[in-house]
């Protein structure tokens, strides 16, 4: 199963990319996607429980992700 992780702002800088394809042997949760990102070089910049949106909707860490999902890791927002 593969998901697309989207990275923004300081997280994109830390990981050197704003878009990564991540593969999982079986199913995975939002938390497991985050854990895989944090294990990458620069991934320590991500907090253990960042704000995450799956397919444009904010999601909890225990939410299951499906093949092809877009999993966005949202740094602290600063709009306005």
């Amino acid at each position: 199963m593969t998901v697309t992780a989207l990275l923004f702002a300081s997280y994109a800088e830390a990981l050197g990319s704003d878009r990564l394809e991540l593969a999982f042997p079986g199913s995975a949760t939002v938390g497991e996607v985050v854990a895989q990102l944090r294990a990458l070089p620069g991934g320590a910049a991500l907090p253990p429980s960042p704000l995450v949106a799956v397919n444009l909707t904010y999601a909890r860490a225990d939410q299951r992700v499906a093949n092809g999902d877009e999993v966005a890791i949202i740094p602290p927002v600063a709009g306005g």
Binding site: L6, F8, A9, S10, E13, P47, P48, S49, P50, L51, V52, A53, L56, Y58, A59, R60, A61, A72, I74, P75, P76, V77, A78, G79, G80
Partner: protein, 152 residues
Amino acid sequence: MSIRSAIVRRAIDVAALLAEVQETANGATVAFVGHVREVNDGRAVTGIEYSAYGEMAERELAAIASECASAYGIAHLAIEHRLGTLTLGEASIAIVVAHAHRAPAYEASRFIIEEVKRRLPIWKREGYVDGSSEWVNASGVPQAGAAQEHRT
């Protein structure tokens, strides 16, 4: 009924937004405009680069507008949030709300800007006079678990 929100990449025309919500059913219009300020946290700023998770920002902004319309009985509102590089004094956001009466107009306006600051997936990188720049963690640092609050 005229409820509109947009993420834009050009200058915001506040007068146009005021005209857009103008309707003779309304006795009160409240406009909020956010600008790039010359000093933030004691550092002299030269400009701000706004970036976003565009598709989601549009969706969240539309959700905020719609929640505001139901919560405060607002039938006429326009919101624009700008992205890209802004110089000092330029408007990053304008929120224009009209209502028959002033109290709901003020409350709705405040609701929108607070929700925008809390949950709109937009980031800013501030440039300083010394040539450096930094990601700004402005107001509402979303905590882990904030996602649930958004939905209830």
